[in-house]
Amino acid sequence: MRPELKFVDVISEQQRTQRRKQDLASFEHTHRAVITSVFPLTDMETLYRIQIIDPNERKRFSFIPGQFLMLELPGIGEAPFSISSSPSIHGEVELCIRKAGNLTNFLSKAGRGTIVGVRGPFGTGFPMEDMHGQNILLIAGGLGLVPLRSPIAYVQENRSHFKEVNIMYGTKTPEHLLFTYQYDVWSKDDINLNIIVEKADPSWKGSVGMITEILQDILSGRDNEFYHNTYAIVCGPPVMFKFVCNMLNRFHIPMQKMFVSLERRMHCGMGKCCRCNVGSTYTCLKGPVFDYWTVMNLKEAI
């Protein structure tokens, strides 16, 4: 026998068509997807609906609220985005995108019909099923409503599984409010909606102040039964979820029942590039959704 090494092909033809997390071929696999709708929300944020083109891939593509995907435009860039739509729709997602970098700037020029690449979904999600039978506090600051919109949709669709549901949403000014057209529907689904802005304009009739003020109102004077059977999902900037979670903690809501979503720079989404590490934890694998106890134990998270 000739002492010659044989080339080892790490992916067989058959494997190339499979897409499981453990498969080598899944690593750079991109679903081709098409932008089916573009809807401006504010000056800076636009809501894109994106549908996976291949019918089989579309059927298989599902996610849980809180997960993110990597959106790619060849040559322009790739970046992580929280999925902002209902998990019950397969193969179609809504992403709310703020103009902040190359990809998002280019995307803002792209219209319906543009073909994009989608990888994922990646990361952890909110454990919605664990919350069944419990009260839910859905708390968002600023852009935090984007990842929160997916669990809100889940709660709407499964309203009977939950006891009291409160949405608390705070922004800098009324102009920054996102998804204003949906507020009525949320209320109709027996969800208490509380909105607060830091700075009002003349037309603003609602509350003015910090989000912790409405949280304080909602939590005060409840019984232990309420505190012990309440979950919280908190999405927003670190400084906001720190104050909110500290207040929840003062009312003895267990830290393991508070969930936050962290945002970091990501290049791969698959626990390889290390760019999203907080301390030494991969945000893309162990997160982006963490319970607050875990966040407290992460160095440099807040």
């Binding site: 002492p3 092909d9 790490v10 453990q22 060849p74 690449g117």
Partner: protein
């Protein structure tokens, strides 16, 4: 494991037989430094006489053969609004590594854990790693080697065969049947009791030569406790943030991805470039916010990933103790001193 011994002159035969049919990478002399000492590097080698099996340590690991500094993850053809993606794992064929030290073999074993055996295995690495045939070789401990502290002074797996110089003979550990079959092409014999004794003596004599040490007892915990320690500030002040430590590290795998459009607009590329957590933009996000703007926070992060995060995930450190980072650091920042200072709770 199967053991054999063979006469030293047989090694050249083995090399030449293998070189006739395969590409071989091994330690060679890349130049001389200002003191006239040889500078070693891994390079493709076809002449046995160019091979330097008795090399001290290479400045850089053989990384470019399994984690190239830059490689394309995918390429695209673009026409009007349409695009197609194609993926190539960038491997030209099998390679024989002739003469890797235990530290470098253990480095591959550690990389395997995160790049091969974890969720989302990385095909670019897998394709290269699965096409490596490794001949390990014993080493002469250098003053900067602390592999014994990191338990990577011997390699138990991750190679095909491992040769130890017994003076007139080589003692060979055979781990794969590929290696076993290759060895059929040269004259080898069953080791006798005296060969075993000689092997043990050789190894124990080598082990006595290790000088540098790192106390890793409870290190993961201590690093957590000393997160706010002033010692990090001290090391941060002298750190050049140049990324050299990562580039010479056999286990640093962090990277960045850049997408570029071809100037003729007909194609695009997605390129992976190894990055270093010490570089200023490592934790910068779109919009400009930097999670680690200070030098010391980045340097600290490197130690946390190596000696804490990886331990948490895989029950072992991501450092093999090869000492290359300390040797290459112009500021003289080295693992034994940094860890000692953290344990001491004050700067050196």
């Amino acid at each position: 494991m199967i053991f054999r011994v063979f006469e030293k002159k047989e090694l050249k035969n083995l090399f030449e037989i293998l070189a006739a049919h395969n590409k071989i990478v091994g330690p060679v002399e890349a130049g001389r430094d200002k003191h006239g000492e040889p500078v070693y590097a891994f390079s493709e080698v076809s002449d046995f006489n160019a091979l330097r099996l008795g090399y001290t340590a290479t400045k850089l690991p053989a990384k470019r053969y399994f984690l190239p500094f830059q490689e394309n993850l995918s390429t695209y053809t673009v026409e009007d609004g349409e695009w197609q993606k194609s993926i190539d794992y960038n491997v030209s064929g099998p390679l024989i590594f002739f003469g890797l030290h235990s530290c470098d073999i253990n480095a591959l074993n550690k990389l395997d854990k995160v790049l091969l055996h974890s969720i989302y295995p990385m095909p670019y690495y897998a394709a290269k790693r699965k096409n490596m045939f490794i001949i390990g070789t014993d080493c002469a401990p250098q003053p900067f080697c602390f592999c014994r502290s990191m338990s990577s002074d011997t390699a138990l797996h991750g190679f095909d065969m491992f040769i130890t110089d017994l003076g007139t003979k080589y003692f060979v550990e055979i781990l794969t049947d590929t290696a076993y079959n290759f060895l059929k092409h040269i004259r080898t014999e069953e080791p006798k009791e005296k060969d075993h004794i000689l092997y043990m003596k050789t190894v124990s004599a080598r082990n006595k030569k290790f000088t540098a040490q790192v106390d890793t007892t409870d290190l993961a915990k201590i690093l957590d406790m000393e997160f706010q320690s002033d010692v990090w500030k001290h090391w941060g002040d002298i750190c050049l943030s140049c990324g050299t430590c990562s580039n010479v590290c056999p286990t640093c795998y962090c990277y960045g991805v850049e997408e570029t459009v071809d100037i003729d607009l007909k194609g695009a590329k997605k390129t992976k470039m190894l990055h270093s957590c010490n570089l200023i933009d490592f934790a910068e996000v779109a919009g400009g916010h930097n999670f680690r703007p200070e030098r010391h926070s980045r340097l600290k992060y490197r130690y946390y990933h190596k000696h804490r995060g990886f331990v948490e995930a895989f029950e072992e450190s991501l450092c093999v103790g090869c000492g290359r980072c300390g040797e290459s650091c112009l500021a003289g920042i080295n693992v034994p001193e940094v860890i000692a200072s953290v344990r001491g709770g004050k700067s050196k």
